[in-house]
Amino acid sequence: MSRRFGAARLGREALMVLVACAFIFPFYVFFTVSMKTQAEVASNPLGLPTTLHLDNFATAWNRGDLGEAYLNSIIVVALSVLILVGFGSMAAYTLARRLSRLSTVAYLVFLVGLMIPLQLGMVPLYQFMNSANLLGTWTALILFEAGHQLPFTIFLYAGFIRALPREYEEAARVDGAGPVTMFRRIVFPLLRPITGTVVILTGITTWNDFLTPLLYVGGSSQQTLPVAIYAFRGEFATDWGVLFAGMAIAIIPLLIVYFFLQKYFIIGFASGIKG
């Protein structure tokens, strides 16, 4: 480790740390401003807060309905991911293992979904949700999130299943397992690594989504965190301290989970995106 710890190496290390400091400067601003009073933000936008003004957090929590928004976000993410893992893995199993023209066409139909911008179907789907009386409910949002991320989920699962040896399935077949039992007991457990990736990728996407939640549940009691923060900004336009405290409340859990599980996040993203 310490061998060849020369000046060049030290220089490189210092340079990268410097780059990183510039890069995370916004986070410094984020957390310092969240603890400043309105007057302090105006007079001293950059320095450390003189006192830890933690009232901002209480105000943000109470005024922004953040508790409710948290719960909504958790429910929407959990149910969407559950549907994606269940429906996605089953569909991918059929598409990867059943070699026929129909399954090839079906796979292509799903893959096109990776490219179609949601904007093209946005208005018709909004009108559909409206006429089905689903606007302002989690149901609309969950259907949307799960449906839109199915192509990517199926793409990940199918790639993984193709690389999976068939011996376990053949053995189970010999033992008389039907296709559904085989999927549940043999195949699905083998998919664990890619299921982890699917959960992380689709979970993050759903948690962060803004446009559709704004349309479907904005202003209702079922709105998710990004929508609640957006509404909050309208209310606290000039009080950056309170707004930032609210934003911090919304992202701190995400950051904590990330820093503890960062290896899985990074590997998940890398392997998921490479396909």
Partner: protein
Amino acid sequence: MTSAVTTATSPRTTGPTPSGRKGRLTPGGVPYALLLPAFVLYAMVVLYPTLSGAVYAFTDWTGRADGTKFVGWANFAEIFSDVAARSALRNSLVIAVSVTVVQTLVGLALALALHTSLVTRNVLRTLFFAPALLPPVIIAFLWTFILTPQGPLNTVLRGLGLDFLAQNWLGDSSLALWTVIGVVIWQSAGLTMVIYLAGLQGIPTELNESAALDGASWWQRTRLVTVPLLIPATTVAMSLTLISSLKLFDQVFAMTGGGPGYATETLSVIMYKEAFVSGRFGYSTAIALVLTMIVFAFTMVQLGALRRFDVDR
């Protein structure tokens, strides 16, 4: 449900198995019933709305049940004569090209720097990737504050004696688009970096070592050995960035709302306004159809171009 499953499996595919697998017992009889829930959901929220959207793009639909008429290409003609839509079209293209190019270069540089044996390597990877995980709306509000005329960025610049660099970043219409582009790249460069790091791990170290023995410098090895082997990672990183930056909505909507004037308007923002502020569903959907065509065209061109450079395929 159960009966569907059994009937679907009973005529097990005993027919032609792909050559090479002949005689092997394969789980070929996976029932289509397993595909059904996913397909129904996908058809309901993606296929059907998208196809009907492609039809509505040619109508004057406003959402009322009666009186929707086909108007032919009128909506599309309007896009090219409407100042707001024209700016949005131009801005979306500028954003897509510049974000894709710069983010790929920044991500590649970060990955190359962090693929070496730095002590701080893992910490830095974690840091650079963090913004990519956070809600774009929140990132947008954070930067709105940083970029205000009396805000932290200008304070830092003045503190460094660089007063001439202090700007009204989001309020100046000749600058705002580039500011938005910078924020988007700041947020997602870590994503490109991670894709490249994964690509770098797939390159055998022997290649670089033998090139080093032959006397190649670090720069030569990077340019002639490493980067060409990163073409597959580049394809993935660039297509992903291209598609998402063409559809850019959150950051613009939350930071500038498309302003000042039409300076930062994008196709997604303008179609949101046309649909949900002005109630012009047909026109808005026509804009979406143009966006879709651009996404398809760009993706095809890009995949084709990168495939030509790919040594492996």
